[in-house]
């Protein structure tokens, strides 16, 4: 297991919803939890992954995610069962779409 923590400079929009959860922790899959948090406009990420040694790839995928969705004040938490970067990006995008929705 690897436990990784990252900080990213925020890009503008605080989310409308309190949190969003997508995905299931399974082989080649992951769950992503996004939460609104007071982070001074920045974003933080915690990744627990069963695959070791991909720190820099995680950092790049997550930095790209924060940048593309122009997120701010979001805590990103990931439990990973060995997903590929494409699956990781898909789940992150799903979570971003969900946390942007109006609170139901």
């Amino acid at each position: 297991m690897d436990h990784l923590e990252f900080e990213f400079e925020g890009r503008g929009h605080s989310p409308r919803r309190g949190h969003a959860l997508v995905g299931v922790v399974g082989s080649g899959n992951l769950e992503v939890l996004l939460e609104h948090a007071e982070l001074g406009g920045n974003c933080s990420a915690v990744v627990d992954t069963s695959i070791r040694g991909f720190d820099s790839l995680w950092e790049r995928v997550l930095a790209d995610f924060v940048d593309r969705h122009r997120l701010a004040d979001v805590r990103i938490s990931v439990n990973d069962g060995g997903a590929t970067p494409a699956v990781v990006t898909l789940r992150l995008d799903q979570a971003a779409a969900e946390i942007r929705e109006e609170q139901s």
């Binding site: 299931v24 922790v25 769950e31 627990d48 069963s50 439990n79």
Partner: protein, 298 residues
Amino acid sequence: MRPVRRSYDEATARGRIDGLLDAGTFREFCGPTARRSSPHLPALGLPVSFDDGVVVGEGRLDGRPVLIGSQEGGFMGGSVGEVHGAKLTGLLERGLDVEPAAVVLLLDSGGVRLQEANAGLIAMGEIQRAVFRVRAAGVPVIAAIGGRNGCYGGMSIVARSCDWIVVSEQGRLSISGPEVIEAVEGIEEFDAQDRALVWRTMGGKHRRLLGEVDALVENSIEAFRMAVIGWLEQPRPLDLAAVEAEHARLEARLRRFAECRDGLDVWRDLGVERPEEIPELDADAFNAVVASMEERDR
């Protein structure tokens, strides 16, 4: 326009709750942001899940208050670890305080999580005890089985401790799984690769014909919803006479079908006219067969 039918077995634990309850009424207990994940898995180098593979909470069904739990089969086979089990036990015990129209359990589990074996085994006993306490208080406990993992091991015992069970054909219900039986008794006894055999001996239709489950529905969340609504506020008797009658039924069943080697043999013995056609029937046609048999036996 006809409403879209949502597949039950392809839905996630959360998707099943959303589709089953009245829209927008679900409120989760110990949700993912509480991070009540397994304390045991990290020590084994295994990833955790924020909800430990089970979603519990309250909501409304047909306007009436219910408590509901839903196992996520995609996380470690829906297996019951310490936290997972405690969430189900807590949900059931809440039923004693709030006396809902039912406690609904959407089961999708291989049983105890072997990585947390002792804690998981204890959890099974606690869940079962809580089921009986809730039932003794007059609150019905309803189990739904239609997920990819079926309902095996300790969870199968929990299911059969409930008032009512609804299954789809995809759902399977058995103590030991096919691979376990093959490993212990040999391939001559049971070929776990023979999927048709697995369904003929553990599948929803077989369990319905044997009288172990109360309804068989098509693989849609709406169909499960309608079945569960029919049992709200409808507890079954749970007293010494009911338990003794059930034991007598099981004893008689064991004697009657002792020589059967396959579900087909059982169905033939039960008087099903064309047993070989049973696996091909859709839910409506199958239920018509069951109804005609019940009519005949009356």
